[in-house]
């Protein structure tokens, strides 16, 4: 069971209070009805599922009820940071640079694909 810090409650709470809500930073197009099949398919179905750092959404469902984002290493389950919904993607390089050196196996990072929706 993970300990997760809620950026609204500013406290670490057990995973039981949270619900994972999938990949973060998938932006719903404001004129979605005009989206091409390809873009819509990418928004609806395609996910990064990286081995390593992933941006993901959580909801503090049995707490404050807020949705927020987190950067978690899918190999070690370690959270790099959590941040409020709507805040920009944190600079992972900077976070990693400031991280206490750990002898966990090195994280393979892959440039995240940029979604057209985000451009």
């Amino acid at each position: 069971m993970l300990l997760i810090k809620c950026p609204y409650c500013e406290e670490e709470r057990p995973e039981l209070e949270f619900r994972n809500a999938g990949e973060a930073h998938l932006v719903r197009n404001s004129s979605i009805i005009e989206q091409s099949d390809e873009d819509f398919a990418s928004f609806l179905y395609f996910r990064q599922n990286p081995k390593g750092l992933q941006f993901e959404r959580w909801r503090h469902i049995h707490g404050c009820g807020r949705f927020f984002n987190a950067v978690r290493d899918s190999v070690s389950d370690k959270f790099l940071t959590v941040y409020k919904a709507g805040e920009p993607k944190p600079d992972v390089e900077a976070l990693l640079a400031g991280r206490v050196p750990s002898d966990a196996e090195p994280v393979k990072r892959r440039a995240p694909r940029t979604k057209k929706a985000e451009l």
């Binding site: 719903r28 404001s30 009805i33 709507g86 002898d103």
Partner: protein, 992 residues
Amino acid sequence: MVHSTHSGSNRIAGVGRLTPAKTVRFTFDGQNLTGLEGDTLASALIANGIHLVGRSFKYHRPRGILSAGSEEPNALIDIERDKSRKQPNVRATVQEIYDGLKAKSQNRWPSLTFDIGAINDVFSPMLPAGFYYKTFMWPKFAWKSIYEPKIRAAAGLGVVPGEPDTDRYSNRFAHCDVLVVGAGAAGLAAALSAASTGAQVILCDEQSEVGGALRYETDVKIDGLSGYDWAVATYAKLRGMANVRVLTRTTAFGYYAQNFVSLVERISDHLSRPAAEMPRERLWQVRAKKVVLATGAIERHMVFANNDRPGIMLASAARLFLNQYGVAVGRKVGVYTANDSAYAAAIDLKRAGVDVPVIVDTRDSPSSAVIEEARSLGIDILTGHAVYSAGGKRRVSSISIKPNNGGNERKIVVDALIMSAGWTPSVHLFSQSRGKVAWDAANERFLPGTYAQDCISIGACNGTDNLQSAIDEALVAGGGQTGALAATGGTNWISGMIGSAPGAGANTTVKAFVDFQNDVTAKDVRLAVREGMHSIEHIKRFTTNGMATDQGKTSNLHGLAIAAEALDKPIPAVGLTTFRAPFTPVTFGAIVNHARHDLFDPTRRTPMHAWHEAQGAPFEDVGQWKRAWYYPQAGEDMHAAVNRECVAVRNHAGIFDASTLGKIEVVGPDSAKFLELLYTNPWEKLGVGRCRYGIMLREDGFIYDDGVVGRLAEDRFHVTTTTGGAPRVMHHMEDYLQTEFPHLNVWLTSTTEQWAVIAVQGPKAREIIAPLVEGIDLSNEAMPHMSVREGKICGVPTRLFRMSFTGEAGYEINVPADYGKAVWEAVYEQGKPHGLTPYGTETMHVLRAEKGYIIVGQDTDGTVTPQDAGLTWAIGKNKTDYVGIRGLLRRDLVSDGRKQLVGLKTVDPKVVLEEGAQIVANPNQPVPMTMIGHVTSSYWSENCGRSIALALVIDGTKRLGERLYVPMPNGVIEVEVTGMVFFDEKGERLNG
């Protein structure tokens, strides 16, 4: 040597730590035996001269006790307190005896000494590793019906108890600064050091008392005391500290992310008459800032022919039986070793007066003080020799010895053989923590390499081979200042051998067991390699090496070494199988814990529940809710009751508890805008006081939920959801509100539990409620179908909805939950003279099906669009956005060939279809037929005088009037495709 016959003929007076006067009576296979308080079942059996305790898994070979700890693969016993408290596969080496303990051997028939299944041993050439993958292939059906059940019955070990477990299990969460796993010398020192800093410390050990190897190491001195005395004194000291919790009989079995470690504490399994309120086990879920692993090492056996004969055991086990329990494992004990540590056992036995005829050492010219000491005691030491085979069947009777460099075989008579191939550091928990092990080539062992969590390994599990070094390491790991602890003596954990011993190598066909519990021999591992298994994961699964309940604690490294040799690869290149939780088997009771019976899941009851109960209504489970199903009158079965209720609603009126419907209050200036985005329907123009049936989609265009939404004010909506859908709809709404449409000024509140809902439906509905309602004009003109008013009923505030899920004119009376039962009773009393009839969920289902109203989740399955369900009218034509709008445009969702919801009428009106039944166009086609749909709802409709059904059928709306077929085991049912409305097609009754 002096034998004390009180508690077994192999008990040696004056040796061990048990009190001879404290005897305990127990039975084994019905035989009355006596042991001593503090004995394990294993020590008590050996004290009574019993080594044969079970039959092996596959070959039914006689098996004895291999170890004295939790790694035991062989001595699996059935312990029975009473019929419901019966535990199979208990390791005799961890079960403490108590007065009245009833133990039984397993996997034998008719008896332990004569077992029919042992025929498998004779036919073993026909039963090599993986035989069942090849032998039982044909005919295909026979695997499930014949082969597998037979093999399982013949193989399996213990028998599952036949009655539910009546024991209690408890559960605790704990947080600490330092969790120390293992209370041997290293663990105790680390706990002492950590405790000295004031840190919150939890120390746990799987044994009944602390000390680990100190319990049998006779040569250790720590801090001026004997090792054991130091352990006992340290235990007392730790127990006296407020910041330390010491848990004995407690196994750390799982190590998860963020230093979350699960422990199971066995509380009453060792007690003769546990108090009724005492739990059997307690599950500890510990979150530790730091974890110190002091899990020690496990001794390996030697792999040679017939090494599984009862009376052959690990040297350290024999030493523990002697020094702790005062039990000699035999009277003539041979020793077979590849390292120094077995010599200490030989010395202890010899000093206790046991005859030790020989120490056979595979090493050519070993030299150390302990060897000299053994020699000086007059023990015959044969270096450069190997035991080629053990004689005897139900007990070892001799060993055959040969020099490594050739020469003649000799036979030596023994009644026990103790062995040591060396020590395997217990890296199980370290590995579970996702740490990576590293191969120590010099000493042929895996050690903790790269750590993944805030955890540290100390002592033998870390490959620290010298006691003083282990204690120094422990004191540092604890993080405190306790001053140095001087230590001398102790086991030398290094050296030894892995793989098969001489005489059991390649090209031999002897039965030299690697994994005792799963009957895997060295030649099985080699066979796996010959059959093309090159990865250790494949070899493991082909041979089942390490797959038994002991998880290969003694066998993994041997298996790996034999495979590596056969593959001609270095060991690290062959790899190590993954260590997984649990470290030792954990009862389902401990894991399920309180979450059973009433505590398995919350039960939700409506405010009117007691009334339904008093009427004798059976209840239907809908999610966590209990809903009244039907209200049988004297002599009625369900069918009769439902028919009566259905007719009553349409002819007079019915009263129905709809409190379980999900309710969400949507409030704020942008409420209408928000609902426009969440539902397919338009909301902006819905007048205050009016209602609308709404459909909610997922982004992919499929129906997610539905319900009636009432507008109470410009900025306030009362949203209803399906009974089961309420929480996920709330979650879905919050998700969009918080993350996609945060610019909207809207608040969402779940009000499901706040409102009791009483549906009054039928032609007399208005007449019945009118006298009870204040401040609302109920006339058709003032309050038409699909409207909502606020006022009072029976003097309490109400939100009164004019709506219908039956097709009749009707109301849904929402009152604050606390008034639900009182208002229900008042309405019922008022309505009785008008024929008001309570109806349950079954009648509700029939009535709505008569009208073709769908139930989301029954008539839809997450792949149904509004168009498929005949609900195109509910989509706002001019809307440019709502969740699902783009999904609905997907090519597959608008093309032909989709399954559409239609009505079905059986040609024989008396036949009621089965829900879920498949539909075909041509019943004469060959099997497998092309299925074009299935029945989603099907009922007998008393109001229609026939059966009715809804079904999802490919291109269903184009098939109206077509004949289709439902093949069933008893014949084909012919049906006609119809519209979805079976009763009052024009819908005139809604207007009362």
